[in-house]
Symmetry: C2
Subunit: 403 residues, 2 copies
């Protein structure tokens, strides 16, 4: 008997037929004698529909009321899935994030889980019920409702698996595993049997939308055995593990269009200037990704950095104010850029991987605007219009279709 | 400065345009210097749509999961209305029933409010915020979610007004007040300037859908000044008061089609038999309305009673079992009946009103199957097909078009 946490995304519970199918998948695991906790997202496009409703009454709705609104999406899913399980005589109870005791910080629309009180779930599991938990949401100690932001249901599932010491956390989605690249962009992409937490983390951060980076981070931290598999096809998925049995130099290529670049020209070279710039952004919760500081001329630097494109307005406004105070000569931006990356835990012991990447892109006439590397990935900022082409040629050059 | 509780029904917040209009109504009251608490129902047909979703996955969804599902309807409304107020710079916060601390008993889908903790609302009002409260819902002390059943938002509003000692509770709806009869049935129906709690209670119980009986009951108990008015037209509504300034003998005619009749033949005349029958129904939460016991023959009685038609299946099953145990000769039912009633606080001091009612109906050839009277109303069970006709002729005979 195992304790299994299963997470089903919005497309897996989009309508009654799909909900009944999910109920059957759960039923199979229950019949094998397992205890099952299920995390569900809002149905299909519910979240987008709710956001559209909000914008109709207020073009800039407050984060607090957005959380109040969006939390209903998952509450609908959990009730419907519980009803579907009840219909096939599986003892079941649904719980909202606040009811479970998923306690978050107080950052509306992008809260982080601070802790999970497991007593309520433990009680229900002991009564042999399947427990259906609303993903993406929690509460603070004042009973205020918070959402975790997009992809938050993955995080809920992994955090629950960690808190409950589950034997495995299975993420069901509309793809049947992790691929070397998005198959819509590279049809020859291969499915990986295994991937390391670190690789998955890089791929997730780099725009592969299968798993949310925060979820992978948590899984790595608490060593939660993770598996990504399809809700629609009964096939072995991809296991996310600590170390691969067989090392692969490059396991994936990803691109990300949610990128914008901001440049500050002629920033005075004084101690604390960079800290001031990036603290201002951090306070506004803007995640800065790459940072490049050019060689100094006349005690003046050029500083450029990338941020999520969705944060561009906020960041630009802040930088214009900060730049003015610092007397920089200009603040510029470019929102027509993309990030393309290669990832692989084997890179660390294979020199020349980055050089090969630059070569491949250069041969296609693709210009590199910024470069960033870690032990297991190389990322380049390029023009948005080159993103797909770059991804395809890199996938081919590193022979990812042959894995 | 007054403390006003306003309640808006589902049709008043059905879309963005209507929500903005409601925000303006609230804005006017805030600008007059009042503190405002607003109770809202689910938008338009949301509740029915959610019920339809539920039935798709389970023809007999559990009451507990129905509450989980249906509570989302009001949560969507409160968030949207709060956003609309925020858009016109009114400080505002939305709260779910559980967040407010509306504590109910544990009867899922038809819970009753046991108490309201006002500390959270007091705090928000003291910060000069408009407080938007989800109607129709509450929680028990385990944080389980309960709904109050149809019409529950009226009850939430009145209970809040009582708990907060509000100066007035205004019920906004799609009609502009209480009429002597449903204007769709009797186009000459007159709008009443005032009506007593007792009359309103009878009318509400008798099928006039403007106010929920439980809400009127509470208003009467706590002497909450109540007003029914239109969300769409800025017109004086109808005030529900303790005593009328000008007495009217008959203030309204109502009919109700949600009626079914059950008869038990040849029930042995033993002590406790009636108690057994009606306790069985009470335990199943079936509200029995009229009861008639025929003259006894050979120590055997015929007992007939009426119940809401929606409870017929439940009641009939129970009565067949109970009847068998009691060895009654037959259990019969009729679901093609209706109840037509006249109501008026002045009846008590005007003899002959009931007689006039029977006359009017007899002259139209309408047969009376059961009769029930109170100090301020007379109700008759008649054939369903006669209901509209009976209502119209009674309205005319008592000159309600001339009020």
């Amino acid at each position: 008997m195992a304790l299994i946490v299963k997470k089903f995304g919005g497309s897996s519970v989009a309508d009654a037929t799909k909900i009944k199918k999910v109920a059957q998948i759960i039923n199979n695991r229950v019949n094998e004698g397992n205890k099952v906790v299920v995390v569900v997202s809002a149905q299909g496009n519910t979240t987008d529909e709710l956001i559209a409703l909000a914008r109709e009454v207020n073009p800039k709705p407050s984060a607090r009321e957005m959380d109040m609104l969006l939390a209903t999406g998952e509450q609908i899913s959990i009730a419907l899935l519980a009803m579907a399980l009840d219909a096939i005589n599986i003892p079941v109870i649904s719980l909202t994030g606040p009811q479970v005791g998923i306690v978050t910080d107080t950052e509306h629309t992008k809260a982080r889980i601070k802790g999970i009180e497991t007593s309520r779930i433990d009680k229900e599991l002991n009564e042999n019920k399947v427990v259906i938990v609303a993903g993406f949401q929690g509460r603070d100690d004042q009973n205020e409702i918070y959402t975790l932001g997009r992809g938050g249901s993955d995080t809920t599932a992994v955090a629950l698996a960690a808190a409950l010491k589950a034997d495995i956390c299975e993420i069901y989605t509309d793809v049947d595993g992790i691929y070397t690249c998005d198959p819509r962009v590279v049809p020859e992409a291969s499915k990986l049997a295994e991937i390391t937490y670190d690789e998955m983390l890089e791929l997730a951060s780099l725009g592969a939308k299968v798993l949310h980076p925060r979820a992978v981070e948590l899984a790595k931290l608490y060593k939660v055995p993770l598996c990504v598999r399809s809700s629609f096809i009964n096939k072995e998925g991809t296991f996310v593990v600590e170390n691969l049995e067989k090392e692969i130099v490059v396991t994936g290529v990803a691109y990300d269009l949610n990128v914008a670049k901001i440049g500050l020209f002629d920033v005075p070279d004084q101690p604390g200037i960079a800290s001031k710039i990036f603290n201002t952004l951090a306070k506004a919760k803007v995640n800065v990704d790459m940072i490049v500081q050019s060689a100094m001329r006349n005690n003046l630097n050029d500083i450029a950095f990338t941020i999520p494109r969705s944060d561009l307005d906020t960041a630009l406004e802040l930088m214009k104010k900060t730049g003015e105070a610092m007397k920089v000569s200009d603040v510029v931006f470019d929102d027509k850029v993309a990030k393309v990356s290669i990832v692989g835990a084997g890179m660390i012991s294979s020199p020349g991987v980055a050089a090969k990447m630059f070569d491949v892109l250069a041969n296609e006439g693709i210009n590199l605007e910024m470069i960033s590397t870690s032990e297991i990935k190389v990322s380049c900022i390029i023009k948005e219009e080159d993103a797909i082409k770059a991804t395809q040629v890199l996938h081919k050059a590193f022979e990812l279709d042959k894995i």
